[in-house]
C-alpha cells in the first residue's frame, strides 16, 4: 500500500522545511495530493470521513484512502454553506458544504458520516441530496453498554461497508487485507504515541501549531507514510534544542470535531501556555481505538472490539461508567499539566454539555481551568490570548485560576 503521494521525509530535512511541507499540505484545499495518489494506480478511490468515528482500517483494507474531513476552517470564506444553516448551528457543516459546492472535495469518491451529534448526523442527509453522485454511508457506532449486541451490530455494519468499498475498488474482500491495514495503522499509532510522549517531554521544541499540522497530515496520508513523516519531524524538531520557558502546561479540551483556527492555538501558547495534551483531531490520536489481532483473531472483530473497549471517554460516546471527569483528571496528571483550557466550538452540544460536569470534578481536585468558545473561522484572538495569558499568570503566581 505504498504510494507516490509524498516523498518520505529525508532525515536531513530541517524542521522549517518539514513545516513548510506540512503547511502546503494543510492549505491544499483541492486535495491535489490525493488526486495524485488516486491517479498512481487503477482502482484507487478516496473516502472522506467526518469526525469522530472513522473505521480507517476498513477503508484502507478495501484499497481506498480514508481522508478526514474537518471543515474548511479559516482557509475559505463560507458563503453558500451559510445558506444551509441557521445562525445557531455550529460552523463545521457550513464550511464542509462550501468545500463540496466549490468542488474542493471532488477528489473524494464518497463520504462516511458517523453519529457524532445531530448536526453531523443530519449533514449526511443534506449531503445525499446535494451531491447525489457521491457514495454516502452513515454509520452509528454503538453506544450500548451491552457488548454482545453492540459487537454483532457494528460487525455487520462494517462488513457491509467493507464489501461496498471493495466493490468500488475492485478488490476482493479478504481478511488478509484487514490484517495488513490493522498492522499499518498500528505503526502509525505507535508514531503518534512517540509524538505525544515527545510533546509532553519537550513542548518547547514541539509547538502546538506544528504538532497540529503534523496530525492533520495524518488525516489524509497512508499510515506508513505518515509514520515516517512523523519520525522525521521528531528528529528534526529535537535538533532545535530550544530552552524551556516559564509557561504553564495545559490540556486543551473540547475541540474534537470543529477545529480551532491555527492562530488560536498559537495564541494560547504565546500567552504563556504549553499545550501538552488535547483532543484535537480525535480519530488519529494515540489512545484511540487500536485493534488487537492477538486478542480477537478475526480482524473485523478486532476493529469492532477496539471501538467497544476504547477506554478514553469522549463527549460523543455514552459515558457508561460516569468516568469522564476522573479520566480528565488522570489525563492532567499523566501529562503533568497545571490546568485545563476548555475550548469548545460555539453551539457544540456534546462539548458544551460536558463542561459543567467536568469542571465540577476539576474543582473538587483543585485543578485550575478556564473556558472559551470559538468558531473554526474565528479571526479575533486578542480576547482569547488575554484570557489564556491571565489564566497562565494566575496559575504561575497563585497555583489557581
Amino acid at each position: 500500500m505504498t504510494s507516490p503521494m509524498t516523498t518520505p521525509a529525508a532525515p536531513a530535512q530541517t524542521v522549517d522545511e518539514l513545516v513548510e511541507e506540512l503547511e502546503a499540505r494543510f492549505d491544499d484545499l483541492d486535495l491535489g495530493r490525493i488526486r495524485a495518489w488516486k491517479a498512481a494506480a487503477p482502482g484507487r478511490i478516496a473516502v472522506g470521513c467526518l469526525p469522530v468515528f472513522a473505521p480507517r482500517e476498513v477503508i484502507w483494507a478495501a484499497g481506498a484512502l480514508p481522508v478526514f474531513v474537518r471543515g474548511g476552517g479559516d482557509r475559505i470564506e463560507t458563503i453558500r454553506g451559510d445558506a444551509f444553516y441557521q445562525s445557531y448551528i455550529c460552523h463545521l457543516p457550513r464550511s464542509t458544504l462550501e468545500l463540496g459546492l466549490l468542488g474542493h472535495l471532488d477528489a473524494l469518491d464518497g463520504l462516511i458520516f458517523p453519529n457524532t451529534c445531530d448536526v453531523v448526523r443530519n449533514l449526511s442527509g443534506v449531503w445525499q441530496g446535494t451531491f447525489p453522485q457521491h457514495f454516502v454511508r452513515f454509520i452509528d457506532p454503538p453506544q450500548s453498554a451491552e457488548p454482545a449486541s453492540a459487537a454483532a451490530y457494528l460487525h455487520h455494519e462494517l462488513t457491509a461497508m467493507y464489501r461496498d468499498l471493495c466493490a468500488r475498488t475492485g478488490r476482493e474482500p479478504a481478511p488478509d487485507h484487514l490484517v495488513r491495514a490493522i498492522g499499518e495503522y498500528g505503526e502509525a499509532m505507535r508514531a503518534a504515541t512517540e509524538l505525544s510522549d515527545a510533546r509532553r517531554a519537550r513542548p518547547w521544541d514541539l509547538p502546538i501549531d506544528e504538532v497540529y499540522l503534523l496530525r492533520r497530515a495524518a488525516d489524509q496520508l497512508p499510515p506508513l507514510e505518515w509514520a515516517a513523516l512523523c519520525r522525521a519531524y521528531l528528529a528534526a524538531a529535537y535538533r532545535r534544542g530550544n530552552k524551556p520557558e516559564d509557561r504553564v502546561r495545559v490540556c486543551l479540551v473540547g475541540a474534537f470535531c470543529e477545529q480551532p483556527p491555527r492562530p488560536l492555538l498559537r495564541a494560547a501558547e504565546k500567552a504563556g501556555c504549553y499545550v501538552v495534551d488535547d483532543d484535537l483531531t480525535v480519530g488519529v490520536e494515540p489512545g484511540g481505538p487500536a485493534p488487537d489481532l492477538a486478542v480477537d483473531g478475526d480482524p473485523m472483530a478486532a476493529i469492532v472490539h477496539a471501538w467497544l473497549r476504547a477506554t478514553r471517554p469522549s463527549a460523543v460516546r455514552f459515558d457508561e461508567h460516569a468516568s469522564a471527569g476522573r479520566a480528565l483528571v488522570a489525563r492532567v496528571h499523566a501529562c503533568g499539566a497545571d490546568g485545563v483550557l476548555f475550548a469548545a466550538p460555539s453551539f457544540c452540544d456534546p462539548a458544551l454539555l460536558d463542561q459543567p460536569r467536568l469542571t465540577r470534578v476539576l474543582d473538587a481536585e483543585g485543578i485550575p481551568y478556564t473556558a472559551f468558545k470559538y468558531a473554526e473561522n474565528t479571526g479575533q484572538f486578542q480576547a482569547i490570548r488575554e484570557q489564556a495569558g491571565t489564566f497562565a499568570d494566575s496559575v504561575k503566581l497563585w497555583g489557581t485560576a
Binding site: 445558506a83 441557521q86 442527509g125 449486541s149 463542561q355 468558545k373
Partner: protein, 452 residues
C-alpha cells in the same frame, strides 16, 4: 382576517375529550407524586421511542423530562429554570429542554402542576432521534446516581430499517433493558401482559390516525399542529396501552368525525374557526412559552395546519405504524426506529412533500427551534427540497422550545402574515402555480435562500 367565532363568554370552547385529556394529565402528575408512597419504582425516559408498554408491564411510573419542560414553559416557569441552569455553568448555546429540566431539579424538582416529581430508580435512555438525550441523561445520572439502562436505537441514516438494526434493538431489550426493569421492580416480565397492552396501543393508534386523517376533509375539523399537540399527549407518553387511552381516542375520534360531518372547522382558544383560508403543513416543534400567541398568529389569518411532522416524533401512526402484539419486542424496536426524528433528511423531506399533496395544502411552514439540532440542522435544505418536490413555496420562521428569550412575536407574526399573503396572491394568479411535473426539472439547489 378570518376571526374565529367567539364563544360569547370569557371561557374557552371545549369538547368533552379536552376535559378528559386534562384530567388524564392531572391524574398522571398526581400519580407521580404518590409513586413513592405506593412503592412504585420511578423510571425517567424520553418521548421519542419510549417503551411505555414495557414499563407499564412492570407497573413503574414513567417520567418524561421533556414533557416537564414544555409543561413548565406553558406555565411560564421555564425561564427561571433556564437561568438557574446557566448560573451553574450551562452554556446559552445548548438545548433549553435540558437546562429547564436541570433548573427545575435544582429548584426542588417541583413539577409543572405544583406536585413533586419523585427521583428515578432507573434512567431508561431510549436514545432515539436525538443525540442530546444521551448528554442529558449523563447529567441526570450525576444528580441521581441511580441505575441506568441504555437503549441505543440506530439512526436510519440510509433510509432503510434493516434486520440488523431491528435485531440489535431487540437484543438490547432482552439483555439490557428488561433485566434492568426486572432488577428495579423485583418482578419478571409477563409477556402476555405486554401483548395485552400492545393490543390496546394498536386500538388507540388506529383512532388517532383517523383523527389526523380527518384533516384531509375541507374544511379540516382539526388543527393538526396546534390542536395536534394536545391529541398526541396521552399516546406519546404514559397512557399508550391503557384503557384510558383507548377511551380518550375513541371519544376524540367521535367528536372529530362529528365536526367533520357538520362541516365545522377546528376549535381554537377563541372559538371555532369558521373560514379555512389557508391549509398548511408544519414542520418542527412548536414554541411552548408563547404557545397561544403563536397559534393565534395562524388562526387570526384563517390558516389551519392540516398536517405536521411534530405529531410524528413519538410514533409514525399517520404513516401506518401500529404496534403488533404478535411480535412484541420486534414491534417495539420498529416503533423506536421509525420515529420521525430518527429518519434521514431525504425521507423527512419526502414525508413533508407527501403531506402537502395528500392534504391538499396551500403551503408549508418550517418552524425552526434553536434548541433542537435534531429537527433544525438541515431544515433550510429541506425547505428547498420540499419546494422542488411539490412546487409549493415554503415559509421559514425561528424561535425556541422553552427559552422565551428567542421568541419574537412581532417578527414571527410579520413573517407568517407575509407568507400567507404571498400564498393568497399565488392562489389568485394561476400562472404562479407551476404543475409539479414541471418543477421536478428545476435546478435542484437555488442559492441564496429566499424565505418569505
Amino acid at each position: 382576517m378570518t376571526k374565529p367565532v367567539a364563544s360569547g363568554t370569557a371561557s374557552v370552547e371545549k369538547e368533552p375529550s379536552m376535559q378528559a385529556q386534562k384530567e388524564l394529565l392531572a391524574g398522571y402528575f398526581a400519580g407521580l407524586a404518590r409513586a413513592r408512597e405506593e412503592r412504585r419504582p420511578v423510571v425517567y425516559t424520553f418521548v421519542p421511542g419510549n417503551l411505555v408498554e414495557l414499563m407499564t408491564a412492570f407497573d413503574v411510573a414513567p417520567v418524561y423530562p421533556e414533557v416537564n419542560a414544555l409543561q413548565s414553559a406553558m406555565r411560564q416557569r421555564s425561564s427561571g429554570f433556564i437561568r438557574e441552569a446557566e448560573r451553574s455553568g450551562h452554556s446559552e448555546d445548548v438545548c433549553s429542554y435540558v437546562k429547564c429540566d436541570l433548573g427545575m431539579l435544582a429548584k426542588g424538582n417541583v413539577g409543572p402542576t405544583g406536585e413533586s416529581i419523585p427521583p428515578p430508580d432507573l434512567l431508561l435512555l431510549s436514545f432515539t432521534g436525538c443525540f442530546t438525550f444521551m448528554k442529558w441523561f449523563e447529567l441526570l445520572r450525576e444528580e441521581y446516581k441511580c441505575e441506568v439502562a441504555m437503549l441505543h436505537v440506530p439512526y436510519v441514516g440510509d433510509g432503510v430499517v434493516t434486520d440488523a438494526m431491528r435485531a440489535y434493538v431487540v437484543e438490547q431489550l432482552q439483555r439490557e433493558v428488561i433485566p434492568k426493569l426486572e432488577k428495579v421492580t423485583g418482578r419478571r416480565l409477563d409477556l402476555d401482559r405486554l401483548r395485552e397492552l400492545l393490543v390496546r396501543s394498536r386500538r388507540a393508534e388506529e383512532d388517532l390516525a383517523a383523527v389526523f386523517r380527518a384533516a384531509r376533509h375541507r374544511p379540516s375539523p382539526i388543527d393538526a399542529y396546534f390542536g395536534g399537540v394536545y391529541y398526541i399527549g396521552p399516546i406519546f407518553t404514559s397512557f399508550r396501552g391503557s384503557e384510558d387511552a383507548c377511551r380518550y381516542y375513541a371519544q376524540l375520534r367521535g367528536e372529530v368525525e362529528a365536526r367533520m360531518a357538520a362541516g365545522h372547522g377546528p376549535i381554537t382558544p377563541d372559538g371555532t374557526l369558521t373560514e379555512e383560508k389557508y391549509r398548511l403543513v408544519i414542520e418542527g416543534p412548536p414554541n411552548w412559552t408563547s404557545f397561544r400567541d403563536f397559534w393565534k398568529i395562524f388562526y387570526d389569518e384563517g390558516a389551519v395546519a392540516v398536517a405536521s411532522t411534530y405529531t410524528q416524533v413519538g410514533g409514525s401512526y399517520e404513516r401506518g405504524f401500529r404496534h403488533d402484539p404478535s411480535r412484541p419486542l420486534e414491534s417495539l424496536a420498529d416503533y423506536c426506529l421509525s420515529c420521525y426524528t430518527n429518519l434521514p433528511l431525504p425521507q423527512r423531506s419526502q414525508i413533508l412533500a407527501d403531506m402537502v399533496r395528500d392534504y391538499e395544502a396551500d403551503g408549508f411552514v418550517i418552524h425552526s427551534v434553536k434548541s433542537c439540532n435534531s429537527f433544525s440542522a438541515g431544515q433550510l435544505h429541506m425547505l428547498r427540497e420540499v419546494e422542488r418536490l411539490t412546487g409549493v413555496p415554503g415559509g421559514f420562521i425561528e424561535s425556541d422550545l422553552v427559552d422565551a428569550r428567542y421568541y419574537g412575536q412581532a417578527n414571527i407574526k410579520n413573517r407568517v402574515e407575509s407568507y400567507l399573503q404571498m400564498l393568497g396572491a399565488r392562489r389568485a394568479d394561476a400562472s404562479l402555480r407551476a404543475p409539479v411535473a414541471a418543477v421536478a426539472d428545476r435546478p435542484r439547489y437555488h442559492l441564496p435562500v429566499v424565505t418569505p
